[in-house]
Amino acid sequence: MSTPSEQSQGRHASAPEGAVLEVADLVVRYGARTAVDGIGFSIARGEILGLLGPNGAGKTTTLSVIEGLRSPVSGSVNVDGIDALRHPIDARARMGVQLQSSGFQPELSIEQLLRLYAGLYGVHLSRTAAREALDEIGLEQEASKRLKGLSGGQAQRFSLLIATLHDPLLLLLDEPTSGLDPQSRRSLWQHIEASRRQGGSILLTTHSMEEAQAVCDRIVIIDHGRIVTTGSPAELIATHRADPRVLAIAPPSPAPRSG
């Protein structure tokens, strides 16, 4: 639990009622370097929260602690009331995760991967159901291909499908649109929005303000492992519009034509 003074320093983003995820006072160190320094935030049911920050800010490290891939020095993580640090398997059963790199078995086809991961989440998926699920994301024709045969956008859509197979309460997306062209990015945003409409809460990391503004209900900006500020995109824009450190860079407008 953070103190009022900590909150005023921006160390803990406010906790909404009925939180699906509660992270408190998280500290992670790599040797002597502190990667995450007392971060805390919560996500309400049906909310999309963006962790925004530059590379090396501590976004992925924070996510990997929530996923149970890394142990923090201190702090707590609760997923739907379950202590995720003590009971990571129970917590993972309630989460869907899209990692930065695909990391799927290279020798399996898309359809085989889909059925394998469905099984790991305890979902029985018949061959027909698998084909239908792939059809929904426009990959039915690619069912027998290996993942390396897909484009970046297709691979990300597939990865998102795997993460949402079991209708998770909480979806964790680590830079989901990284390296995608604008069209694929918008298409993925629509899929993320569709996941939220089904009732899930989403935590995504990004270093794109545009993405955070387009997708998130609330944004937590972090840098050097600490929370810098938090709020809705509109609040952040209104608060920091006049900040002299916020620069607007626009291409020079074309010179007016004479005659």
């Binding site: 149970g68 695909s102 990391g103 078995q105 020798e107 790991l120 989440y121």
Partner: protein
Amino acid sequence: MILRSRQTLILNLAVPILMLIITNQAARRGGGGFGAGGPSLMIALALSYGLLSSALLGYSITVARDREAGVFQRLRVTPTPTWAIMSSRLIVQFAAAIVTAIIVIVVGGIMHGLSYGAGTYLLIFAVAIYGAAMFLGIGQAVVGLVRSSTAVNALGRVLYVVLLLLGILGISGALGDTFTNIAKWSPVGALMTLFTAVQSTTAWTSDDGWAIVAIGAYLVVFAGIGIRWFQWEAR
């Protein structure tokens, strides 16, 4: 996974079958095979290398490659316990070891004119599992100590060749008594002693007992190192 295992199995069988053919040809020409062990030793040699290649060229290389590709991280974010992730791979390896043992013992028996009772077959499979566990321990130590899949690939191949030569040159007695003793108590040598013992109808010697101890010691030490220093991520 199944496809990859099938290909690996075929590759793992190629060297032992080739060994059986070569030693069979040598015996027919009157060479009598390597050393004084006769056909049982030749089959033991082929069995040992089948298991060795499965662990060093199969298990450790695929684990290193999958780790580098992020497959383990992907599996670890599912509700699957970590012990289940590794066990599933080990079960496949042990199944491959038994299949290798069956094929080598049947082919070797036909080529060298040997036949075994049901009890002997069971003992051979038990030793195959024990030996496979030792080589998987060595493979685990390699992926525990080395992160890069390229380096694991290279080290696995070097170790394979070193252990192969140690076994062949050791039992041939070509390099003197000291080298023969080193070879005899090397992982391959100890396993060959045990495979030869279970094929034999004579009483077990103290060397056979010490071979069981040596294999157990290699298993505990290498598996311990491999588990202690294993990292799920390549970075």
